[in-house]
């Protein structure tokens, strides 16, 4: 039985800990704010949000940056709840880019 992807205590690793500071970029603050606001407005619970992150496949989870995982989960849970439609973010992306 595989351990859940997020269950990292004691997970074998040779990765050094990068102790330097990495200030948050604007988009990361935005991702954080979206999550805070969605939870505060009871659109989703923090538990659902965590479950969304934990649903990532292992390789994706490990390759993603921290707030990329947050966005993955927000999208997944919002689609699951029917707040946004599948593919709707891609369409909005194209619209904003075009």
């Amino acid at each position: 039985m595989a351990r859940p992807v997020h269950d990292r205590g004691g997970w074998p690793t040779s990765e050094p800990i990068d102790t330097s500071e990495h200030p948050l970029a604007d988009w990361e603050l935005l991702a954080d704010a979206l999550q805070q606001s969605l939870v505060r407005n009871r659109v989703m619970t923090v538990d659902e949000f965590r479950r969304g992150i934990e649903s990532m496949p292992l390789q994706a989870y490990e390759a993603a940056g921290y707030y990329e995982r947050w966005l993955y989960s927000l999208e997944r849970i919002l689609v699951e709840k029917g707040v946004i439609a599948p593919g709707e973010i891609d369409r909005k992306l194209a619209e904003l880019a075009g």
Partner: protein
């Protein structure tokens, strides 16, 4: 942004796919009336307003007032409220006191739970897979990587925030600080000392204790 391994330097965050995706999601949610733009801005403002300052105030007050410290250890949220401080949305905040026999260090192995209201956003390393893995299984080496060598006779207590409890470490008051006021003491209390990977430095002007 990707704290977990090296990547090419990014010229501007607007070029990252994730950045564009975040903005697209924001636009959609505002269009649909799910969230108001003003509220999103308030959430950003709140996060940006957070720093280690409020946590440091709690520690400094605990250092000078033993009865406050006892109340802080019993119920950190209520103690913070006494000073007009917001301990954040998590249901419970627990303060853990370092002593000469015990040193605490906090981690969230399952995600990144952290007392943001009192310490500000967590540092990237706290959220990293490497810290989440080794802070529980090899904590003394992790502390050594942060420059903190603990005496072997000191009990190292790792606190893994696996539920909705947020943990805050009350570091030990450095020697040579007897003459300092509360504000000066608060200046000594670093974010890392309230996570437990560091201890506060004695003030530079203090004479060294032998």
């Amino acid at each position: 942004m990707d704290q977990d391994h090296d990547h090419e330097p990014i010229a501007s965050d607007a070029e990252l796919p994730a950045a564009a995706r975040a903005r697209a999601l924001e636009a959609l949610l505002v269009e649909k009336g799910v969230l108001a733009r003003e509220e999103i801005h308030r959430s950003v403002d709140w996060l940006v307003s957070r720093s280690r300052a409020d946590g440091a105030r709690l520690v400094a007050r605990a250092w000078v007032d033993p009865e406050f410290k006892a109340r802080l250890l019993a119920d950190a949220r209520a103690a913070a409220a006494e000073l007009g401080l917001d301990a954040g949305p998590a249901p419970r905040v627990v303060a853990a006191e370092n002593t000469d026999g015990v040193h605490h260090v906090v981690v969230c192995t399952l995600c990144s739970c952290y007392p943001r209201a009192l310490l500000g956003p967590p540092p990237a390393w706290y959220k990293s897979l490497a810290y989440r893995s080794r802070a529980v299984s090899d904590p003394r080496r992790v502390l050594a990587e942060f420059g903190l060598e603990l005496d072997p006779d000191v009990e190292l207590r790792v606190l893994d925030s696996t539920a909705d409890i947020r943990y805050l470490v009350i570091p030990r008051r450095p020697p040579g600080t007897e003459g300092l006021g509360e504000d000066e003491l608060a200046e000594l209390v670093t974010r890392d000392s309230m996570i437990g990977v560091a201890v506060p430095a004695a003030p530079a002007s203090a004479t060294a204790d032998s």
